[in-house]
Protein backbone atom coordinates (compact mmCIF):
# COMPACT_ATOMS: atom_id res chain seq x y z
CA UNK A 1 0.00 0.00 0.00
CA UNK A 2 1.17 3.48 -0.75
CA UNK A 3 2.39 5.68 2.08
CA UNK A 4 0.30 8.71 2.86
CA UNK A 5 2.17 11.94 3.25
CA UNK A 6 1.28 13.62 6.54
CA UNK A 7 1.13 17.39 6.37
CA UNK A 8 0.92 17.98 10.11
CA UNK A 9 -1.63 17.50 12.85
CA UNK A 10 -4.65 19.73 13.49
CA UNK A 11 -8.28 19.59 14.50
CA UNK A 12 -11.00 19.69 11.87
CA UNK A 13 -12.77 22.58 13.62
CA UNK A 14 -9.70 24.69 12.90
CA UNK A 15 -10.16 23.78 9.25
CA UNK A 16 -13.65 25.23 9.49
CA UNK A 17 -12.29 28.39 11.13
CA UNK A 18 -9.67 28.78 8.41
CA UNK A 19 -12.22 28.24 5.65
CA UNK A 20 -14.68 30.69 7.20
CA UNK A 21 -11.95 33.30 7.55
CA UNK A 22 -11.11 32.91 3.88
CA UNK A 23 -14.78 33.25 2.94
CA UNK A 24 -14.87 36.44 4.99
CA UNK A 25 -12.22 37.85 2.68
CA UNK A 26 -13.62 36.53 -0.59
CA UNK A 27 -17.42 36.47 -0.31
CA UNK A 28 -19.13 39.58 1.03
CA UNK A 29 -22.49 37.78 1.33
CA UNK A 30 -21.22 35.32 3.93
CA UNK A 31 -22.41 36.10 7.46
CA UNK A 32 -21.64 34.07 10.58
CA UNK A 33 -23.81 33.37 13.59
CA UNK A 34 -22.56 31.74 16.77
CA UNK A 35 -24.29 30.62 19.97
CA UNK A 36 -21.66 31.54 22.56
CA UNK A 37 -18.95 29.17 21.29
CA UNK A 38 -16.85 31.45 19.11
CA UNK A 39 -13.52 30.14 20.39
CA UNK A 40 -14.55 26.49 20.34
CA UNK A 41 -15.74 26.83 16.73
CA UNK A 42 -12.58 28.77 15.75
CA UNK A 43 -14.69 31.63 14.42
CA UNK A 44 -12.48 34.29 16.04
CA UNK A 45 -10.61 35.20 12.90
CA UNK A 46 -13.80 35.83 10.91
CA UNK A 47 -15.15 37.89 13.83
CA UNK A 48 -11.97 39.95 14.07
CA UNK A 49 -11.87 40.72 10.36
CA UNK A 50 -15.64 41.10 9.77
CA UNK A 51 -17.32 42.29 12.98
CA UNK A 52 -20.23 43.75 11.01
CA UNK A 53 -20.98 40.33 9.51
CA UNK A 54 -20.71 38.35 12.74
CA UNK A 55 -23.78 37.82 14.94
CA UNK A 56 -23.36 36.72 18.54
CA UNK A 57 -26.62 34.90 19.28
CA UNK A 58 -26.07 33.94 22.91
CA UNK A 59 -27.15 30.56 24.23
CA UNK A 60 -30.30 30.47 22.11
CA UNK A 61 -29.85 27.98 19.31
CA UNK A 62 -33.48 27.80 18.20
CA UNK A 63 -33.48 31.54 17.61
CA UNK A 64 -30.14 31.26 15.83
CA UNK A 65 -31.41 28.74 13.28
CA UNK A 66 -34.54 30.72 12.43
CA UNK A 67 -32.70 34.05 12.33
CA UNK A 68 -30.24 32.44 9.91
CA UNK A 69 -33.15 31.30 7.75
CA UNK A 70 -34.52 34.85 7.75
CA UNK A 71 -31.13 36.27 6.81
CA UNK A 72 -31.18 34.39 3.51
CA UNK A 73 -34.04 36.71 2.49
CA UNK A 74 -32.10 39.63 1.09
CA UNK A 75 -29.24 37.51 -0.20
CA UNK A 76 -26.96 36.63 2.70
CA UNK A 77 -25.31 33.22 3.14
CA UNK A 78 -25.50 32.48 6.86
CA UNK A 79 -23.07 30.04 8.51
CA UNK A 80 -24.25 28.95 11.98
CA UNK A 81 -21.76 27.66 14.51
CA UNK A 82 -22.27 25.60 17.63
CA UNK A 83 -21.63 22.04 18.84
CA UNK A 84 -23.17 19.27 16.72
CA UNK A 85 -25.62 18.35 19.46
CA UNK A 86 -27.00 21.89 19.65
CA UNK A 87 -26.84 22.22 15.85
CA UNK A 88 -29.23 19.34 15.25
CA UNK A 89 -31.14 17.60 18.03
CA UNK A 90 -31.88 20.77 19.96
CA UNK A 91 -33.13 22.61 16.88
CA UNK A 92 -34.46 19.89 14.62
CA UNK A 93 -37.85 21.47 14.11
CA UNK A 94 -36.38 24.90 13.32
CA UNK A 95 -34.11 23.30 10.71
CA UNK A 96 -36.92 21.16 9.34
CA UNK A 97 -39.46 23.95 8.81
CA UNK A 98 -37.46 27.15 8.33
CA UNK A 99 -34.36 25.78 6.54
CA UNK A 100 -34.92 22.39 4.86
CA UNK A 101 -38.61 22.64 3.91
CA UNK A 102 -38.25 26.33 3.08
CA UNK A 103 -35.10 25.59 1.02
CA UNK A 104 -33.04 28.33 2.64
CA UNK A 105 -29.36 28.80 1.87
CA UNK A 106 -28.14 28.19 5.44
CA UNK A 107 -24.90 26.37 6.27
CA UNK A 108 -25.21 24.55 9.59
CA UNK A 109 -21.64 24.11 10.82
CA UNK A 110 -21.36 21.64 13.67
CA UNK A 111 -18.30 21.05 15.78
CA UNK A 112 -17.44 18.58 18.57
CA UNK A 113 -19.45 15.85 16.86
CA UNK A 114 -19.37 12.30 18.15
CA UNK A 115 -17.43 10.57 20.91
CA UNK A 116 -14.22 12.48 20.30
CA UNK A 117 -15.68 15.50 22.04
CA UNK A 118 -14.29 13.52 24.96
CA UNK A 119 -14.44 14.42 28.61
CA UNK A 120 -17.70 16.40 28.55
CA UNK A 121 -19.51 13.10 28.21
CA UNK A 122 -22.67 11.80 26.61
CA UNK A 123 -24.80 14.96 27.03
CA UNK A 124 -22.60 16.60 24.40
CA UNK A 125 -21.48 13.59 22.33
CA UNK A 126 -24.12 13.41 19.63
CA UNK A 127 -24.04 10.21 17.58
CA UNK A 128 -27.39 10.62 15.82
CA UNK A 129 -26.88 13.85 13.91
CA UNK A 130 -25.95 12.42 10.51
CA UNK A 131 -29.12 10.35 10.58
CA UNK A 132 -31.33 13.28 11.53
CA UNK A 133 -29.84 15.54 8.91
CA UNK A 134 -29.72 13.08 6.02
CA UNK A 135 -33.39 12.29 6.51
CA UNK A 136 -34.36 15.88 5.73
CA UNK A 137 -35.28 16.51 2.09
CA UNK A 138 -33.18 19.28 0.46
CA UNK A 139 -30.34 18.83 2.98
CA UNK A 140 -26.75 18.17 1.90
CA UNK A 141 -24.67 16.37 4.55
CA UNK A 142 -20.86 16.62 4.59
CA UNK A 143 -18.43 15.00 7.01
CA UNK A 144 -14.88 15.98 6.02
CA UNK A 145 -11.92 13.87 7.11
CA UNK A 146 -9.17 16.23 8.19
CA UNK A 147 -8.16 19.88 8.61
CA UNK A 148 -7.47 20.54 4.95
CA UNK A 149 -10.64 18.87 3.75
CA UNK A 150 -12.77 20.71 6.31
CA UNK A 151 -11.32 24.01 5.11
CA UNK A 152 -11.98 23.06 1.49
CA UNK A 153 -15.52 21.89 2.27
CA UNK A 154 -16.30 25.11 4.16
CA UNK A 155 -15.32 27.14 1.13
CA UNK A 156 -17.15 24.81 -1.27
CA UNK A 157 -20.51 24.93 0.52
CA UNK A 158 -20.67 28.72 0.18
CA UNK A 159 -20.91 28.21 -3.58
CA UNK A 160 -23.62 25.55 -3.24
CA UNK A 161 -27.12 27.04 -3.18
CA UNK A 162 -29.15 25.22 -0.54
CA UNK A 163 -29.11 23.96 3.03
CA UNK A 164 -25.96 22.14 4.15
CA UNK A 165 -25.00 20.29 7.32
CA UNK A 166 -21.20 20.34 7.80
CA UNK A 167 -19.95 18.08 10.59
CA UNK A 168 -16.50 18.25 12.16
CA UNK A 169 -14.79 17.67 15.45
CA UNK A 170 -12.49 18.55 18.28
CA UNK A 171 -9.44 16.24 18.44
CA UNK A 172 -6.12 16.90 16.75
CA UNK A 173 -5.66 14.37 13.97
CA UNK A 174 -3.16 13.83 11.16
CA UNK A 175 -3.64 15.88 7.98
CA UNK A 176 -3.41 13.72 4.85
CA UNK A 177 -5.57 15.54 2.29
CA UNK A 178 -3.31 17.84 0.24
CA UNK A 179 -3.88 21.56 0.77
CA UNK A 180 -4.53 22.02 -2.94
CA UNK A 181 -7.01 19.15 -3.31
CA UNK A 182 -10.20 19.95 -5.22
CA UNK A 183 -13.20 19.28 -2.99
CA UNK A 184 -16.32 18.35 -4.94
CA UNK A 185 -19.60 17.93 -3.03
CA UNK A 186 -20.98 14.46 -3.68
CA UNK A 187 -17.84 13.01 -5.27
CA UNK A 188 -16.05 10.45 -3.11
CA UNK A 189 -12.25 10.33 -2.84
CA UNK A 190 -10.74 6.92 -3.58
CA UNK A 191 -7.62 7.01 -1.37
CA UNK A 192 -6.20 3.60 -2.24
CA UNK A 193 -7.25 1.13 -4.89
CA UNK A 194 -7.54 -2.53 -3.97
CA UNK A 195 -9.30 -5.78 -4.77
CA UNK A 196 -10.10 -7.73 -1.57
CA UNK A 197 -12.29 -5.37 0.47
CA UNK A 198 -13.78 -1.90 0.18
CA UNK A 199 -13.61 0.33 3.24
CA UNK A 200 -15.92 3.34 3.10
CA UNK A 201 -15.29 5.85 5.87
CA UNK A 202 -16.05 9.43 6.82
CA UNK A 203 -14.70 11.96 9.30
CA UNK A 204 -12.12 10.84 11.84
CA UNK A 205 -12.63 7.23 10.81
CA UNK A 206 -10.90 7.91 7.50
CA UNK A 207 -7.58 8.25 9.30
CA UNK A 208 -8.34 5.17 11.40
CA UNK A 209 -9.11 3.33 8.18
CA UNK A 210 -5.81 4.42 6.64
CA UNK A 211 -4.07 2.90 9.65
CA UNK A 212 -6.19 -0.24 9.30
CA UNK A 213 -5.44 -0.51 5.60
CA UNK A 214 -1.72 -0.50 6.39
CA UNK A 215 -2.14 -3.37 8.85
CA UNK A 216 -4.29 -5.29 6.39
CA UNK A 217 -1.78 -4.66 3.64
CA UNK A 218 0.95 -6.21 5.78
CA UNK A 219 -1.27 -9.30 6.01
CA UNK A 220 -1.40 -9.38 2.23
CA UNK A 221 -4.90 -7.98 1.92
CA UNK A 222 -5.57 -5.46 -0.81
CA UNK A 223 -7.85 -2.66 0.45
CA UNK A 224 -9.78 -0.12 -1.58
CA UNK A 225 -10.29 2.83 0.75
CA UNK A 226 -12.92 5.46 -0.01
CA UNK A 227 -13.25 8.76 1.85
CA UNK A 228 -17.01 9.31 1.65
CA UNK A 229 -16.99 12.93 2.78
CA UNK A 230 -20.47 13.59 1.41
CA UNK A 231 -23.12 11.42 3.01
CA UNK A 232 -25.88 13.08 1.01
CA UNK A 233 -26.04 13.16 -1.94
CA UNK A 234 -24.23 9.85 -1.79
CA UNK A 235 -21.73 8.90 -4.50
CA UNK A 236 -23.57 5.73 -5.52
CA UNK A 237 -21.38 5.11 -8.56
CA UNK A 238 -18.20 5.12 -6.47
CA UNK A 239 -19.70 2.58 -4.06
CA UNK A 240 -20.96 0.23 -6.76
CA UNK A 241 -17.82 0.44 -8.87
CA UNK A 242 -15.69 -0.52 -5.90
CA UNK A 243 -17.88 -3.20 -4.32
CA UNK A 244 -18.54 -4.90 -7.66
CA UNK A 245 -14.77 -5.38 -7.74
CA UNK A 246 -14.06 -6.32 -4.10
CA UNK A 247 -17.39 -8.09 -3.37
CA UNK A 248 -17.46 -6.96 0.28
CA UNK A 249 -17.51 -3.72 2.24
CA UNK A 250 -16.78 -2.19 5.61
CA UNK A 251 -18.33 1.13 6.59
CA UNK A 252 -16.65 3.16 9.32
CA UNK A 253 -17.99 6.22 11.07
CA UNK A 254 -18.09 8.05 14.37
CA UNK A 255 -21.85 7.79 14.59
CA UNK A 256 -24.64 5.50 15.69
CA UNK A 257 -24.95 2.38 13.58
CA UNK A 258 -28.62 3.28 13.08
CA UNK A 259 -29.01 5.93 10.46
CA UNK A 260 -25.44 6.77 9.57
CA UNK A 261 -23.13 6.33 6.60
CA UNK A 262 -23.32 2.54 6.91
CA UNK A 263 -27.07 2.52 6.51
CA UNK A 264 -26.81 4.74 3.45
CA UNK A 265 -24.31 2.33 1.88
CA UNK A 266 -26.45 -0.68 2.82
CA UNK A 267 -29.40 0.93 1.07
CA UNK A 268 -27.37 1.28 -2.12
CA UNK A 269 -26.16 -2.32 -1.95
CA UNK A 270 -29.54 -3.84 -1.12
CA UNK A 271 -31.06 -2.17 -4.16
CA UNK A 272 -28.22 -2.70 -6.62
CA UNK A 273 -25.60 -5.28 -5.70
CA UNK A 274 -25.75 -7.69 -2.77
CA UNK A 275 -22.50 -7.99 -0.85
CA UNK A 276 -21.48 -8.67 2.77
CA UNK A 277 -21.20 -5.47 4.80
CA UNK A 278 -19.68 -4.93 8.25
CA UNK A 279 -20.33 -1.81 10.31
CA UNK A 280 -17.76 0.04 12.38
CA UNK A 281 -20.03 2.37 14.34
CA UNK A 282 -21.46 2.84 17.81
CA UNK A 283 -24.03 0.17 18.55
CA UNK A 284 -27.14 1.72 20.09
CA UNK A 285 -25.34 3.29 23.03
CA UNK A 286 -24.68 6.70 24.51
CA UNK A 287 -21.05 7.62 25.16
CA UNK A 288 -19.38 8.71 28.39
CA UNK A 289 -16.47 10.78 29.70
CA UNK A 290 -12.95 9.89 28.66
CA UNK A 291 -10.22 10.98 26.27
CA UNK A 292 -11.18 10.89 22.59
CA UNK A 293 -8.89 7.96 21.82
CA UNK A 294 -9.97 5.97 24.91
CA UNK A 295 -13.57 6.40 23.83
CA UNK A 296 -12.94 5.33 20.25
CA UNK A 297 -11.37 2.15 21.57
CA UNK A 298 -14.03 1.41 24.17
CA UNK A 299 -16.93 2.00 21.78
CA UNK A 300 -15.48 -0.02 18.95
CA UNK A 301 -14.59 2.61 16.37
CA UNK A 302 -10.81 2.33 16.47
CA UNK A 303 -8.21 1.07 13.99
CA UNK A 304 -8.39 -2.52 15.24
CA UNK A 305 -12.16 -2.57 14.80
CA UNK A 306 -11.77 -1.63 11.14
CA UNK A 307 -9.17 -4.40 10.69
CA UNK A 308 -11.42 -6.98 12.36
CA UNK A 309 -14.45 -5.88 10.35
CA UNK A 310 -12.51 -6.16 7.09
CA UNK A 311 -11.38 -9.68 7.89
CA UNK A 312 -14.92 -10.65 8.82
CA UNK A 313 -16.38 -9.15 5.65
CA UNK A 314 -13.83 -10.97 3.51
CA UNK A 315 -14.68 -14.19 5.35
CA UNK A 316 -18.36 -13.79 4.47
CA UNK A 317 -17.79 -13.53 0.71
Amino acid sequence: MKDFEIFGNKDTRSGFGAGLAELGRTNKDVVALCADLTGSLKMDEFLKENPERFFQMGIAEANMMSVAAGMTIGGKIPFTGTFANFSTGRVYDQIRQSIAYSQKNVKICASHAGLTLGEDGATHQILEDIGMMKMLPNMTVIVPADFNQTKQATIAIAKHNGPVYLRFGRPVMPIFVPADANFVIGKADVLTEGTDVTIIACGHLVWKSIEAAKILSEKGISVELINMHTIKPLDVQAILKSVQKTKCVVTAEEHMMNGGLGDSVAQVLSQNFLAPQEYVAVNDSFGESGTPMELMTKYGIDTQNVVDAALKAIGRK
Binding site: V31, E52, R53, F55, M57, G58, A60, A62, N63, M65, S66, V67, A68, A69, G70, M71, T72, I73, G74, G75, K76, P78, D93, Q94, R96, Q97, S98, Y101, S102, Q103, K104
Partner: protein
Protein backbone atom coordinates in the same frame (compact mmCIF):
# COMPACT_ATOMS: atom_id res chain seq x y z
CA UNK B 1 -58.56 44.19 -9.41
CA UNK B 2 -58.01 46.63 -6.62
CA UNK B 3 -54.86 48.65 -6.47
CA UNK B 4 -52.73 47.20 -3.75
CA UNK B 5 -50.81 50.16 -2.48
CA UNK B 6 -52.20 53.50 -1.51
CA UNK B 7 -50.36 54.49 1.65
CA UNK B 8 -53.14 55.37 4.05
CA UNK B 9 -55.24 56.99 1.35
CA UNK B 10 -57.79 54.25 1.41
CA UNK B 11 -61.15 55.03 2.94
CA UNK B 12 -62.21 53.03 5.96
CA UNK B 13 -65.39 51.99 4.14
CA UNK B 14 -63.37 50.57 1.29
CA UNK B 15 -61.20 48.53 3.67
CA UNK B 16 -64.34 47.18 5.32
CA UNK B 17 -65.67 46.11 1.94
CA UNK B 18 -62.45 44.25 1.16
CA UNK B 19 -62.43 42.61 4.58
CA UNK B 20 -65.99 41.41 4.07
CA UNK B 21 -64.99 39.65 0.86
CA UNK B 22 -61.94 38.17 2.56
CA UNK B 23 -64.15 36.77 5.31
CA UNK B 24 -66.38 35.20 2.64
CA UNK B 25 -63.29 33.67 1.05
CA UNK B 26 -62.15 32.27 4.40
CA UNK B 27 -65.38 30.45 5.26
CA UNK B 28 -65.81 29.19 1.70
CA UNK B 29 -62.21 27.88 1.52
CA UNK B 30 -62.47 26.09 4.84
CA UNK B 31 -65.94 24.70 4.15
CA UNK B 32 -64.83 23.59 0.69
CA UNK B 33 -62.40 21.04 2.10
CA UNK B 34 -64.04 20.59 5.48
CA UNK B 35 -60.78 21.50 7.20
CA UNK B 36 -58.71 24.51 8.18
CA UNK B 37 -58.79 27.26 10.77
CA UNK B 38 -61.60 29.81 10.37
CA UNK B 39 -61.58 31.34 13.87
CA UNK B 40 -58.20 33.08 13.90
CA UNK B 41 -58.49 33.80 10.17
CA UNK B 42 -61.71 35.76 10.62
CA UNK B 43 -60.19 37.52 13.62
CA UNK B 44 -57.20 38.76 11.60
CA UNK B 45 -59.12 39.63 8.42
CA UNK B 46 -59.35 43.33 9.27
CA UNK B 47 -55.69 43.63 10.26
CA UNK B 48 -54.27 41.86 7.23
CA UNK B 49 -56.58 43.82 4.94
CA UNK B 50 -55.33 47.02 6.54
CA UNK B 51 -51.69 45.90 6.37
CA UNK B 52 -51.68 44.74 2.75
CA UNK B 53 -54.06 47.33 1.27
CA UNK B 54 -53.10 50.41 3.23
CA UNK B 55 -49.73 50.07 4.97
CA UNK B 56 -47.17 47.93 3.19
CA UNK B 57 -45.04 49.03 0.27
CA UNK B 58 -44.98 45.90 -1.81
CA UNK B 59 -45.07 44.66 -5.34
CA UNK B 60 -47.66 41.89 -5.81
CA UNK B 61 -47.20 41.66 -9.57
CA UNK B 62 -43.49 41.00 -9.38
CA UNK B 63 -42.89 38.87 -6.32
CA UNK B 64 -39.24 38.23 -5.43
CA UNK B 65 -37.96 36.14 -2.56
CA UNK B 66 -35.45 38.80 -1.51
CA UNK B 67 -38.00 41.63 -1.53
CA UNK B 68 -35.34 44.31 -1.86
CA UNK B 69 -36.86 47.76 -1.31
CA UNK B 70 -40.21 46.28 -0.21
CA UNK B 71 -41.83 45.87 3.17
CA UNK B 72 -41.91 42.21 4.19
CA UNK B 73 -44.55 40.29 6.11
CA UNK B 74 -44.12 36.95 7.90
CA UNK B 75 -47.06 34.96 9.25
CA UNK B 76 -45.75 33.05 12.24
CA UNK B 77 -49.09 31.53 13.24
CA UNK B 78 -49.32 29.71 9.92
CA UNK B 79 -52.60 27.96 10.69
CA UNK B 80 -54.51 31.12 9.79
CA UNK B 81 -53.36 30.57 6.21
CA UNK B 82 -56.91 31.10 4.77
CA UNK B 83 -56.91 34.80 5.61
CA UNK B 84 -53.37 35.26 4.30
CA UNK B 85 -54.09 33.41 1.06
CA UNK B 86 -57.21 35.47 0.48
CA UNK B 87 -55.43 38.76 1.21
CA UNK B 88 -52.54 37.78 -1.09
CA UNK B 89 -54.89 36.81 -3.91
CA UNK B 90 -57.07 39.90 -3.51
CA UNK B 91 -53.86 42.02 -3.49
CA UNK B 92 -52.85 40.55 -6.83
CA UNK B 93 -50.10 38.06 -5.92
CA UNK B 94 -51.97 35.23 -7.65
CA UNK B 95 -55.35 34.48 -9.14
CA UNK B 96 -58.32 34.46 -6.77
CA UNK B 97 -59.44 31.29 -8.57
CA UNK B 98 -56.52 29.52 -6.85
CA UNK B 99 -58.29 29.98 -3.51
CA UNK B 100 -60.53 27.10 -4.58
CA UNK B 101 -57.56 24.74 -4.44
CA UNK B 102 -56.86 25.37 -0.73
CA UNK B 103 -55.70 22.17 1.01
CA UNK B 104 -56.33 20.07 -2.09
CA UNK B 105 -53.80 17.65 -3.57
CA UNK B 106 -50.99 19.34 -5.55
CA UNK B 107 -52.20 22.83 -4.59
CA UNK B 108 -49.81 25.71 -3.98
CA UNK B 109 -52.12 26.65 -1.12
CA UNK B 110 -50.96 24.11 1.43
CA UNK B 111 -52.74 23.69 4.75
CA UNK B 112 -50.00 25.74 6.30
CA UNK B 113 -47.98 28.24 4.23
CA UNK B 114 -44.98 26.87 2.39
CA UNK B 115 -42.42 28.02 -0.15
CA UNK B 116 -41.75 24.72 -1.90
CA UNK B 117 -44.64 25.05 -4.32
CA UNK B 118 -43.64 28.64 -5.09
CA UNK B 119 -46.82 30.45 -4.11
CA UNK B 120 -46.08 34.16 -4.71
CA UNK B 121 -46.12 36.23 -1.53
CA UNK B 122 -44.72 33.60 0.81
CA UNK B 123 -41.10 33.69 1.88
CA UNK B 124 -41.04 31.13 4.68
CA UNK B 125 -42.95 28.05 5.74
CA UNK B 126 -44.80 28.36 9.02
CA UNK B 127 -47.09 26.16 11.03
CA UNK B 128 -44.85 24.82 13.73
CA UNK B 129 -45.26 27.77 16.06
CA UNK B 130 -42.75 30.16 17.56
CA UNK B 131 -40.28 30.50 14.68
CA UNK B 132 -41.57 33.50 12.74
CA UNK B 133 -40.30 36.22 15.06
CA UNK B 134 -36.75 34.93 14.69
CA UNK B 135 -37.18 34.72 10.92
CA UNK B 136 -38.50 38.28 10.76
CA UNK B 137 -35.58 39.48 12.88
CA UNK B 138 -33.08 37.85 10.51
CA UNK B 139 -34.74 39.47 7.52
CA UNK B 140 -34.84 42.82 9.33
CA UNK B 141 -31.16 42.66 10.19
CA UNK B 142 -30.31 41.97 6.56
CA UNK B 143 -32.42 44.95 5.46
CA UNK B 144 -30.26 47.11 7.69
CA UNK B 145 -27.06 45.56 6.33
CA UNK B 146 -28.36 46.20 2.80
CA UNK B 147 -29.26 49.82 3.71
CA UNK B 148 -32.84 49.00 2.75
CA UNK B 149 -35.11 51.34 4.73
CA UNK B 150 -38.22 49.16 4.41
CA UNK B 151 -40.17 47.67 7.31
CA UNK B 152 -40.50 44.06 8.36
CA UNK B 153 -43.86 43.00 9.82
CA UNK B 154 -44.80 39.74 11.49
CA UNK B 155 -47.95 38.35 13.08
CA UNK B 156 -48.21 35.91 15.97
CA UNK B 157 -50.98 34.20 17.85
CA UNK B 158 -51.26 34.87 21.56
CA UNK B 159 -51.17 31.17 22.36
CA UNK B 160 -48.01 31.02 20.26
CA UNK B 161 -46.27 33.18 22.86
CA UNK B 162 -46.15 30.06 25.04
CA UNK B 163 -43.33 28.84 22.77
CA UNK B 164 -39.95 29.55 24.37
CA UNK B 165 -38.29 30.57 21.11
CA UNK B 166 -40.45 33.72 21.00
CA UNK B 167 -38.70 34.97 24.10
CA UNK B 168 -35.24 34.04 22.82
CA UNK B 169 -36.08 36.15 19.79
CA UNK B 170 -37.55 38.99 21.86
CA UNK B 171 -34.37 39.19 23.94
CA UNK B 172 -32.15 39.09 20.87
CA UNK B 173 -34.05 41.77 18.93
CA UNK B 174 -33.90 44.26 21.78
CA UNK B 175 -30.23 43.54 22.52
CA UNK B 176 -29.36 44.08 18.87
CA UNK B 177 -31.48 47.18 18.20
CA UNK B 178 -33.65 45.55 15.54
CA UNK B 179 -35.73 48.71 15.18
CA UNK B 180 -37.11 48.20 11.67
CA UNK B 181 -39.42 45.43 12.88
CA UNK B 182 -43.08 45.69 13.90
CA UNK B 183 -44.46 42.51 15.46
CA UNK B 184 -48.18 42.17 16.06
CA UNK B 185 -49.81 39.80 18.52
CA UNK B 186 -53.29 38.56 17.70
CA UNK B 187 -54.58 38.87 21.25
CA UNK B 188 -57.89 37.05 21.02
CA UNK B 189 -57.44 35.15 24.26
CA UNK B 190 -58.30 31.76 22.75
CA UNK B 191 -56.37 28.67 21.78
CA UNK B 192 -57.36 25.11 20.82
CA UNK B 193 -57.99 23.81 24.31
CA UNK B 194 -59.82 26.90 25.56
CA UNK B 195 -59.06 30.36 26.90
CA UNK B 196 -55.37 31.25 26.93
CA UNK B 197 -55.84 32.39 30.52
CA UNK B 198 -56.89 28.86 31.50
CA UNK B 199 -54.55 26.84 29.29
CA UNK B 200 -51.36 28.69 30.22
CA UNK B 201 -51.73 32.28 31.30
CA UNK B 202 -49.50 34.82 29.59
CA UNK B 203 -49.61 37.01 32.68
CA UNK B 204 -49.17 40.70 32.02
CA UNK B 205 -48.21 40.66 28.37
CA UNK B 206 -47.61 44.38 28.11
CA UNK B 207 -45.18 44.30 31.04
CA UNK B 208 -43.42 41.23 29.65
CA UNK B 209 -42.62 42.86 26.31
CA UNK B 210 -41.56 46.08 27.99
CA UNK B 211 -39.26 44.14 30.30
CA UNK B 212 -37.74 42.51 27.23
CA UNK B 213 -36.91 45.98 25.91
CA UNK B 214 -39.61 46.55 23.29
CA UNK B 215 -41.86 49.50 22.54
CA UNK B 216 -45.36 48.20 23.32
CA UNK B 217 -48.52 49.54 21.70
CA UNK B 218 -52.10 48.35 22.00
CA UNK B 219 -54.59 48.31 19.17
CA UNK B 220 -58.17 47.37 18.35
CA UNK B 221 -57.85 44.89 15.50
CA UNK B 222 -61.39 45.52 14.30
CA UNK B 223 -61.27 49.33 14.16
CA UNK B 224 -59.59 50.70 11.03
CA UNK B 225 -59.29 54.20 12.48
CA UNK B 226 -57.52 52.88 15.55
CA UNK B 227 -55.29 50.61 13.45
CA UNK B 228 -54.33 53.60 11.32
CA UNK B 229 -53.39 55.69 14.34
CA UNK B 230 -51.49 52.93 16.11
CA UNK B 231 -49.62 51.81 13.00
CA UNK B 232 -48.53 55.37 12.31
CA UNK B 233 -47.25 55.57 15.86
CA UNK B 234 -45.51 52.18 15.46
CA UNK B 235 -43.76 53.26 12.27
CA UNK B 236 -42.71 56.55 13.84
CA UNK B 237 -41.13 54.63 16.73
CA UNK B 238 -38.97 52.63 14.33
CA UNK B 239 -35.37 53.69 13.90
CA UNK B 240 -35.01 54.56 17.57
CA UNK B 241 -33.07 51.50 18.64
CA UNK B 242 -35.93 49.38 19.93
CA UNK B 243 -38.21 46.86 18.21
CA UNK B 244 -41.96 47.53 18.31
CA UNK B 245 -44.74 45.14 19.28
CA UNK B 246 -48.45 45.81 18.90
CA UNK B 247 -50.78 43.87 21.16
CA UNK B 248 -53.86 43.73 18.98
CA UNK B 249 -57.19 42.92 20.59
CA UNK B 250 -59.36 40.83 18.32
CA UNK B 251 -62.23 38.38 18.55
CA UNK B 252 -61.73 34.91 17.16
CA UNK B 253 -64.42 34.31 14.53
CA UNK B 254 -65.18 38.05 14.10
CA UNK B 255 -67.86 38.72 11.52
CA UNK B 256 -69.88 35.51 11.90
CA UNK B 257 -72.24 35.61 14.87
CA UNK B 258 -72.16 31.94 15.75
CA UNK B 259 -68.37 31.76 15.58
CA UNK B 260 -67.34 34.97 17.30
CA UNK B 261 -65.59 34.88 20.64
CA UNK B 262 -65.28 31.11 20.98
CA UNK B 263 -62.27 28.83 20.74
CA UNK B 264 -64.55 26.14 19.31
CA UNK B 265 -64.10 27.47 15.78
CA UNK B 266 -60.31 27.57 16.01
CA UNK B 267 -59.85 24.60 13.73
CA UNK B 268 -63.32 23.42 12.71
CA UNK B 269 -64.97 23.97 9.33
CA UNK B 270 -68.63 24.98 9.02
CA UNK B 271 -71.05 22.47 7.48
CA UNK B 272 -73.10 23.54 4.40
CA UNK B 273 -75.92 24.93 6.50
CA UNK B 274 -73.54 26.86 8.73
CA UNK B 275 -71.68 28.10 5.67
CA UNK B 276 -74.91 29.48 4.19
CA UNK B 277 -75.65 31.17 7.49
CA UNK B 278 -72.15 32.68 7.64
CA UNK B 279 -72.28 33.92 4.05
CA UNK B 280 -75.63 35.57 4.69
CA UNK B 281 -73.83 37.75 7.23
CA UNK B 282 -70.96 38.73 4.92
CA UNK B 283 -71.55 40.95 1.92
CA UNK B 284 -70.06 39.81 -1.38
CA UNK B 285 -68.23 42.97 -2.42
CA UNK B 286 -65.55 41.91 -4.88
CA UNK B 287 -67.05 38.76 -6.35
CA UNK B 288 -66.57 35.26 -4.97
CA UNK B 289 -63.77 33.16 -6.44
Amino acid sequence: MLKSVSNRSMERVELERIASQIRRDIVRMVAGVNSGHPGGSLGCADFLTFLYFDVMKHNPKNFTMDGIGEDLFFLSNGHISPVWYSVLARSGYFSVADLGTFRKLSSKLQGHPSTDKKLPGIRMASGSLGQGLSVAIGAAQVKKMNKDASFVFCLHGDGELQEGQIWEAAMYAAANNVDNLIATIDYNGRQIDGDVEDVLSLGNLNDKWQAFGWHVLEMDGHNFMDMNNVMQKAQSLCGNGKPVVIIMKTEMGQGVDFMVGSHKWHGVAPNPEQLANALSQLEETLGDY
